[in-house]
Subunit: 405 residues, 2 copies
């Protein structure tokens, strides 16, 4: 199929989308819920704050009694109680009475404002106010943040540090989230060796994909484990079969270069359903995928940069969506500093260094050249309907950072 017609990026994405799977959920303690995705809605069990709360250290008073107080015309109040954090007063404040109050403590009965300590001077059991306060001043009203019983977060919410705080305030010590997909990365390629400082044998190449693709899986909220297989049909078949039984997603690298003659794609075709092979994108044309044992198998190129691009185009979105999170490229417009040729009918993802206003693509674009990815912080994306851009044209840019889980 690679030879007859390449899928467009859109066609390929749509085929994959039809086989999108969603992870089941699990309950984790709140301390482990950071950067997970809610699989349940969060309803608050409490008002927050649970009572009218002092927002300052100072004196709880009746605001009306302070009206007119100033540096030149201070007013004197009687201190009738003193409450620290975590304590409520059982006194009720009367006219010209004050209660010492700490930040976070409940406003006592009768009071409706807090005057900050800065504007007071304590003399024995009296306090002298050199400023007035308005009703409600320095008071965080009950339920200002959250109303008891209200739904405060919906399912599929991504839990940042602030959602974590909100969920805690609502009363949850544990929470239901989507499970993290477990991804098996199968590295094929007889020529590959682990990193070594020793001289390499003839034809040997260091296997860098195991590190970079694992890290990309991690950057997609998932968990990666790496295995190896030699380029024989039986070894690759056994590795893929076993992986599809034990993992949620399988990624292979290598052996996708040209046609169904390649071992990896032959295996997928024999033991599962091939979805596609060959996509009209650059880099990354030599991409295939299929479903084996009801499990998505992404077959990436062995070329490092092509594999990274294929991850960004296909696997990242799939892994995000498995966890209930959508993923679209966050495209921003930049002015291209260079001319960029492209080809109608092909989508290009061009390694680029972009700053606040400009994009300058990296000129050395060999699909094996990792250096070009290191020098880049973004892609310029050239749609299949565009033939490229002139210097000075506004182009579509996606920052790598914006794709991170």
């Amino acid at each position: 199929m690679f030879l007859s017609k390449l899928d467009s990026l859109k066609e390929a994405s749509s085929k994959i989308e039809q086989h999108q799977k969603i992870m089941s959920s699990e309950v984790v303690s709140l301390g482990e819920a950071h950067k997970r995705v809610l699989a349940e809605g969060i309803k608050s069990f409490h008002d927050s704050p649970p009572f009218d709360k002092s927002a300052m250290d100072g004196f709880a008073v009746r605001a009306e009694d302070t009206f007119g107080a100033s540096k030149s015309a201070p007013k004197t109040f009687k201190i009738v109680d003193s409450i620290g954090a975590g304590v409520a007063s059982n006194k009720t404040i009367g006219p010209n009475e004050a209660i010492v109050i700490a930040t976070g403590s409940p406003i006592p009965e009768g009071a409706n404002a807090v005057i900050m300590k800065e504007y007071t001077e304590t003399v024995g059991d009296e306090v002298i106010l050199s400023s007035q306060v308005t009703p409600g001043e320095n008071v965080s009203p009950k339920a200002e943040d959250i109303k008891k019983g209200s739904v405060i977060l919906s399912p599929k919410t991504f839990i940042r540090y602030q959602e974590l705080g909100l969920i805690a305030s609502a009363g949850y010590s544990e929470v239901e989230v989507y499970k993290k997909p477990r991804v098996k990365i199968i590295i094929t390629g007889n020529e590959l060796v682990d990193p070594t400082k020793e001289e390499l044998g003839p034809a040997q190449i260091i296997n860098s994909n195991q590190y970079s693709i694992s890290a990309m899986v991690h950057d997609s909220g998932a968990v990666a484990e790496v295995g190896r297989a030699h380029d024989t049909f039986d070894e690759v078949k056994e590795a893929i079969l076993k992986a599809t039984e034990e993992y949620d997603v399988v990624i292979t690298t290598g052996g996708t270069a040209i046609s169904k003659g390649d071992v990896v794609l032959d295996v997928i075709d024999e033991i599962g359903d091939m979805l596609l092979h060959g996509v009209s994108i650059r880099p990354g044309k030599a991409f295939g995928c299929g479903v084996v044992n009801d499990t998505m198998v992404f077959a990436f190129s062995g070329q490092p940069v092509a594999a990274m691009g294929q991850f960004d185009m296909f696997a990242r979105r799939y892994l995000f969506r498995m966890q209930g999170r959508d993923f679209e490229f966050d495209i921003v417009k930049k002015e291209s500093e260079l001319k960029i040729p492209s080809q109608l009918g092909r989508t290009d993802f061009i390694r680029t260094y972009s700053d606040e206003s400009h994009a300058r693509h990296i000129l050395n674009r060999g699909s094996g050249v990792i250096r070009s990815m290191v020098d880049a912080n973004s892609y310029i994306i050239i749609d299949e309907n565009d033939e490229g851009y002139q210097k000075g044209d506004m182009v579509d840019v996606v920052f790598f950072d914006s794709m991170i889980w």
Copy 2:
């Protein structure tokens, strides 16, 4: 000191910077080096690729012999060898000879180009070419990516997935990185209880800071552990002393509201050097910090949103720099959808929802209102020299995502 004069954001930052500490380094396996920071320079032990490498599956040939070949005028070559991945041929190619070659294999002696399988047809031991190739076509030249002996990454480089691939290619299976700071978070406040769905006692508040601040520490590349202390001088003193002996940074929450009368600041003042107390920022004015046992102690407000803001203003940068990484706000300009009042002499960090072009700040800005942080994805920053903005003004925006490790 809080009462007499507040530090400006700049003054406070500068005081903290003077006590910036840098973590020592450690050697970790490459599989654990993702999102760490290099403490050594990386010099390549290999050329990459280590030889002239085929970028395609096809036939290695002498480009000159193919000149003129086309669909209508195909040329026939003799196949003299066949090499798979990880294998080198010991044959030398002569005129009109071809060697079957796999992606990644070394170009055989005599050959200078690869013709893709697509443009060929094999008949017995001959191959018919329906296209010509230019010298170097489909060949990734030796050392194209990395030159043996060259320095390819400098110390303090942040290791993304692509740097990980490059370091592997250079021959490293382990790498020297800055240690992760270990941060002890001490939650003070007698009124605080762990999240519960049961009715709260009078004056009790759920402790959400332990979760959100831990997550922020994690978002700064560091490791967090949480402890509790009651609001007594001795208990806080013991907790801080112990933490400064065992951890790289200490963060407290609570007890910073107004003056040195607060327990946390009193403790820091007694057992260490207070650097500052009270900063002219909003939210987060009630911030203090000091050095105890040669260890930075950040004293945050107990108010959740104030504590988050204080983290972003002070602790985040400190933790990044400890690990060899600089941190500056990545400011972008957006059009404000609302009028924003501010005060000369105070720096405001206003919770905001920003999209591609506009910023709309959240109106409910109480410093305890976590909801406002949940609704926000960015801050509008109003410099101390500005008195606020009118609707339609361009304002400085920092996205939360841009601050993540």
